[in-house]
Symmetry: C2
Subunit: 208 residues, 2 copies
């Protein structure tokens, strides 16, 4: 891991990777600028050439997390094909898969206390993620009769809240708050099906 050249060559990326590794190991609290520098093989002052301070690195990790999240979710949604309901099921599983396989990203995005207004690119990345949920909600609601159709914004907020709740409480392996009698994926899918049935969308879910 030691380098031969004076210049690292790609320190910015290396620091982000180091941050992800450390956050994944010890959580967002036990992540240290100096540790990231060590892991990248540079002096403790070098990171300041690429990030204003430790918080700026955290914010960048969160931004990248939202960008990866957007890729994963939009791929899962796949334009709503073949039908919105099965696409939504894929979307939910992709949401939980991201929280499980990328806990470092997820906690930097939602739990590290990064002030969203600190970085315009960060809020934009978050907006693009939400736009996917918004689009999915719109496709689902489109099958309801026009009058009395519930607002798709509210549906998107409900689905997002339920997904985040399941992911944050039960969706991260050992750090989950509770043992479940089912997988988080099944829990979320069942909840969304009940919710959609309450809206008049889809089939009544099989109980049990």
């Amino acid at each position: 891991m030691s380098r031969r050249t004076y210049h690292h060559g790609n320190l910015r990326e290396a620091l982000i990777q180091a941050a992800l590794e450390l956050i994944g190991e010890k959580g967002h609290a036990g992540f240290t600028f100096a540790d990231a520098a060590r892991l990248a093989g540079v002096s403790p002052a070098a990171p300041y050439r690429h990030f204003r301070d430790r918080d700026a690195l955290m914010a960048d990790v969160a931004r990248l997390g939202f960008e990866q999240f957007e890729i994963a979710l939009s791929r899962a949604w796949n334009g709503g094909a073949p039908d919105p309901l099965s696409a939504l099921a894929r979307l939910g599983r992709a949401y939980l898969a991201f929280a499980r396989t990328e806990p470092a990203y997820y906690s930097s995005m939602f739990e590290a206390g990064v002030p969203p207004e600190s970085d315009a690119a960060l809020v934009q990345a978050g907006e693009r993620v939400f736009a996917i949920l918004r689009q999915a909600a719109g496709a689902l609601v489109a099958r309801l009769p026009e009058p009395g159709r519930p607002p798709s914004l509210m549906i998107a907020l409900h689905i997002w809240s339920l997904s985040h709740g399941v992911a944050a409480l039960f969706g991260r392996g050992d750090r989950a708050r509770r043992k479940l009698p089912m997988s988080p994926e099944d829990l979320l899918e069942a909840g969304v099906l009940v919710y959609l049935h309450g809206l008049g969308i889809g089939l009544p879910p099989a109980p049990g």
Copy 2:
């Protein structure tokens, strides 16, 4: 705020109050053992007489948070009176009120990364909170016909997840992730009503 006696008298409590104050101001990341000691008017080494380390203080704050949370929620549920649906609405508002008015407690409980298994009393306090939700779900499901009745554990998990999702994403004033066209309370209540309607409980919610 300076004391006259050599011994503080109630340093343990004072440190917890100081921690809550500091976490409320700067978030769980920017909370410092030394700062809490300063705020309590003692030397930086004094807290170690009452807490093994900084994380132990965080864990105790989280435990107290769950205990306060239990009091607030059980009072709101009030045995399900006068009827489970309106009691559940109170419960939801109490959940969000706690997250809003006690953000320091809430973030120490759910976002600070306190390992739950570190303290048996902590997990027990969490269990007692969940027992309230479990009880509420049981009361709600009791009005459904016995065969095909959905498991109340699952319902409790869904309601908890939705509540936590709304609270974490939108329920903390300035630190909320997004501006909403409605209050978090209304968002949660609408979501729960749709969900319960999907289960066959309660009246169909008014759209809009």
